[in-house]
Amino acid sequence: MTAEPLAPVAPSRVFTAILLRDLTVARRELPYFLVRTALQPILFVIVFGFLLPKMGMIPRGYSTTMLPGVVALSLTLSAIQSVALPMMQDFGFTKEIEDRLLSPVPIHLVAVEKVAAGVLQGIVAALFVLPVARLIMGPIPGLSFRNLPLLLAVTALGGAAFSAMGLYLGTGIAPQQIGLMFSVIVAPMIMFGCTYYPWAGLDHVPVMKWLVLINPLVYVSEGMRAALTPGLPHMPIAALLAALVVLTVIFMWLGLKAFDKRAMS
């Protein structure tokens, strides 16, 4: 037995090790992950981006409006689920997260790592859905990748805001209420998240236009619109980026508080 005090381990090293664990597990579950998070956006693409336009019930240009929304939806849905679901499991009956809570770093780092892993999984889902949607809908007029910095900023911030929200929901909500979470929180969020219509379109319903601003998804959808289809009307970029930063901070704060409560008795 060594008697001298053991050297502390660099938190960055522990962080990387835990992230590597999550990515290893995620890679193995990739097919399930894609089905879980990308199926819904793709189904919407098939109906609203392919079938309805074919039937002439929706103008052809609609795909341009819808594509950024669908990408935003896959990013946020997968980010939120990638954190909330494992959190519920890990803090539930199995207590599997215990081995990471016993690692020699502040326990908040374990929570922050989960959020980082959530962002990465959100990006994977968005990158998967984008070409698939393009394939189903055909050529999309006005689609542009020239504004790459903005696209990256919206993706990173949107992923972070929703991963942090996943942390809060996953640790703050009782596992029995997970079904409720999806029907009461996630479903309305999708419907009123400006995913299938631009925020500017709500000019016709002014009350809604202001009400939907409490919905975090609005800022990601509009951000994607600003980045991918800059020719279409969208929310001011500075405003939506600021909103995403504020939301990330709020959800991270709430999430860490709820995480603490679950992690330490």
Binding site: M1, T2, P5, L6, P8, V9, A10, R13, V14, A17, I18, L20, R21, T24, V25, R28, E29, T94, K95, E96, E98, D99, R100, L101, L102, S103, P104, V105, P106, I107, A263, M264, S265
Partner: protein, 329 residues
């Protein structure tokens, strides 16, 4: 140096809405007070010691281990583990300890060997070293053939061994085991004892909670007996057994309230103490079973009929009953 030191340690959990103990109705507590799990506990565990924490379910054993392993917040007092303060330097404590939980909680998304390798990397150990060490540990614990198996394919005993292997991957100085043999069959329990003896032989400090007398007696250098969060006795198993009072514990169960017989028993020669708990009469007798006829007579004199008689030799169990009035298991 002390491996563990606690000073006036106290843990109070917020009171739950409704909580009833079997048989004993919960005392009506004011809403501000909580449940006291650990109450002004002072402990010192020597370096390299095999230390046992003995107590019935709900005594505060798991809370104590939770505090010492940085997983439960302290309400008041202080605790030092392997030279670091659990409240202010939890990461340093975690660096130096290994924890075997009450219920195995392996990472089910990973294989057996991956459980060890990833856990080691959480402690800054390089992957190659971690893999080598993980294999060694699995061999030593006799589950090497399950190396690439899924965790779910392991039996309860094998999962417990995996937990021990995991706790050892980063070569901790102090190993905590929270009731490690609960739910194991007798054979698995005995082989776990062997493993624990070997760890102790390597000079590690081991802290183990249990509610099995025999286990505590067989393995531990010293034992702390706790109940309701309080330290009742602390000594070597031999010294504790010597403290067990009144030689033999005679338990007589009547068909009704035993308190009348208790008064008579106390007056008998060779009886050091007697008390009634409902129909159960507990008598500590210096004359062993010789007093049984007199106890039966004492009951029958008041119309009570004996339903059951039980004798226990002086042991940690009888000591525990004399200290708490309760049985361990």
């Amino acid at each position: 140096m002390n491996a563990i030191e606690t000073r006036s340690l106290r843990k109070v959990y917020p009171a739950p809405a409704v909580k009833k103990r079997r048989g004993v109705p919960a005392p009506p507590a004011p809403p501000s007070s909580g449940i006291v799990a650990i109450d002004s506990l002072d402990l010192a565990v020597n370096d390299g010691e095999f230390f046992g924490v003995l107590g019935p379910n709900g005594a505060g054993k798991t809370t104590l281990i939770g505090i010492l392993t940085t997983r439960v917040r302290i309400t008041a007092g202080e605790a030092m583990v392997a030279g670091a303060n659990v409240a202010t330097e939890p990461a340093a404590v975690r660096r130096r300890i290994g924890v075997v939980p009450q219920r195995p909680n392996p990472d089910r998304s990973l294989s057996v060997i991956e459980n060890l390798v990833f856990h080691a990397t959480y402690f800054g150990i390089a992957r190659a070293d971690a893999a080598r060490r993980g294999k060694e540990l699995l061999e030593r614990l006799g589950i090497a053939e399950k190396m690439n198996a899924k965790v779910d394919q392991l039996s309860g005993g094998q999962q417990q061994r995996l937990m021990i292997a995991r706790a050892l991957t980063h070569d901790p100085r102090v190993v905590f085991l929270d009731e490690p043999t609960v739910g194991l069959d007798p054979q698995a329990r005995l082989s776990l004892w062997e493993i624990l003896r070997e760890l102790h032989g390597q000079g590690r400090t081991i802290v183990m909670s249990t509610h099995y007398m025999e286990e505590a007696d067989q393995l531990c250098d010293r034992l702390a007996i706790i109940d309701q969060g309080k330290l009742l006795a602390l000594d070597t198993p031999t010294a504790l057994k010597a403290k067990a009072p009144g030689d033999t514990l005679v338990e007589v169960t009547f068909d009704g309230d035993a308190s009348i017989a208790a008064d008579a028993a106390r007056a008998m020669e060779g009886v050091s103490n007697a008390e009634a708990r409902g129909p159960l009469l507990r008598v500590f007798s210096r004359r062993g079973g010789e007093i049984i006829p007199a106890l039966i007579d004492a009951g029958e004199a008041h119309g009570r009929i004996v339903r059951d008689i039980h004798l226990s030799r002086p042991s940690l169990e009888t000591l525990f009953i004399s200290l708490t009035g309760r049985k361990l298991t």
